[in-house]
Amino acid sequence: MFVQSETQIQDGPVPVDHYGQGQNHNVRTKRKPSRVPNTDTSQRIAWIEEIFAIRDKQDQAAFARLFAHFAPRIKGFLIRSGAADDMAEECAQEVLATVWRKAALFDPSRASAATWIFTIARNRQIDMIRRARRPEPEDLPWGPDAEPDQEDVIALSQETEKLGEAIAALPEKQRELIERAYFGDLSHSEIAEQTGLPLGTIKSRIRLALDRLRHSMR
């Protein structure tokens, strides 16, 4: 499944027009070499297949691979959001257990694996660490019953990859502000302030990546 993705993988520098930065592109890739090896589309497709293997076959080897990648990142995210190490560990385990249990609800034409796992982690964090209730929107009437269209899934994976690249390519200060907003480290007045920039940034520099992502989600 998803074999045609092999031909669509983009290695090396991304085309400049993805975020409209023009000639700055080379400067960017040299400036932050550690951030550049972004998660490519083939890896993103592999995660989807692993979740499907968990759903269809209770595949523990696939789960172990998913676990090895996501659990430490979830834990790292929770620690940066202020959780103590043992709480972050426990919460990350709970998140992966939820991934297993809810694998049948995953719809890769609506959310990438990273996006979906992030939403599970966020809800667990609110529940276990902040001990608050999380109201969730009503589900759409069309559930994830039908197998999603492969082309949609690949397009969404590619656009999510480009979004990741666009975020990684932001100037340090701007990226830090967006990160702080997601770590719960930014007050709402800071977010709202013009000098705070994360939203202005999203509107201009990430907007194109988001627009393309949204298009691929439809």
Partner: protein, 214 residues
Amino acid sequence: MKDIKHHLTDQLLMGYAAGTLPEAFSLVVATHVSLCDECRARLAEYEAVGGEIMMDAGAAPMAEDALASTMALIANANPAPKQETRSTGIFPTPLRDYVGGDKDAVRWRSVGGGVKQMILSTEGEATVRLLHIPAGSAVPDHGHNGTELTLVLQGAFADHTDHFGVGDVEVANEDLDHTPVAAEGEDCICLAATDAPLKFNSFLPRIAQKFVKI
């Protein structure tokens, strides 16, 4: 889908995606998103941003037995709860869960002048309540110390800024001093959240006072 003109701000959607909003605001966001495809799509974008941030936040090593412990969690867990069904009343599912039912399950309390409310139980700084305003009536003039979100669920209201119908959400801040008036016709029911508890505490007695004077 309803004809919604007034949507959530980027700040609110990003904060909800990040999980950093107070519960009262999250309830308004979740209720509006239940009614609004556009904000649902925008929320998905901000969740995708969150996914990428999480992937790139730096890994923290897991405990040695973490995978085995997680497999044990899976083995001991109850099956995933059944997905909730779609609401058929005027309250979308997230709001129904807080009220304990639809419109007819609301335990209204009069605050004077025909205006009724029910405060919903939430944690944190912000508060949220349902308001029932008779058609054609005004909610007394009030300012805001913080942010106030007002989502229309039935009927409509207008203030000097615009007209708000079912599904519309008004995002008001310190700058807005307004007198919302419920439209003629159907009584207006809205969900209102505010993050200014001090102002909110003094708000009710003031309403009562004003109505007593009238």
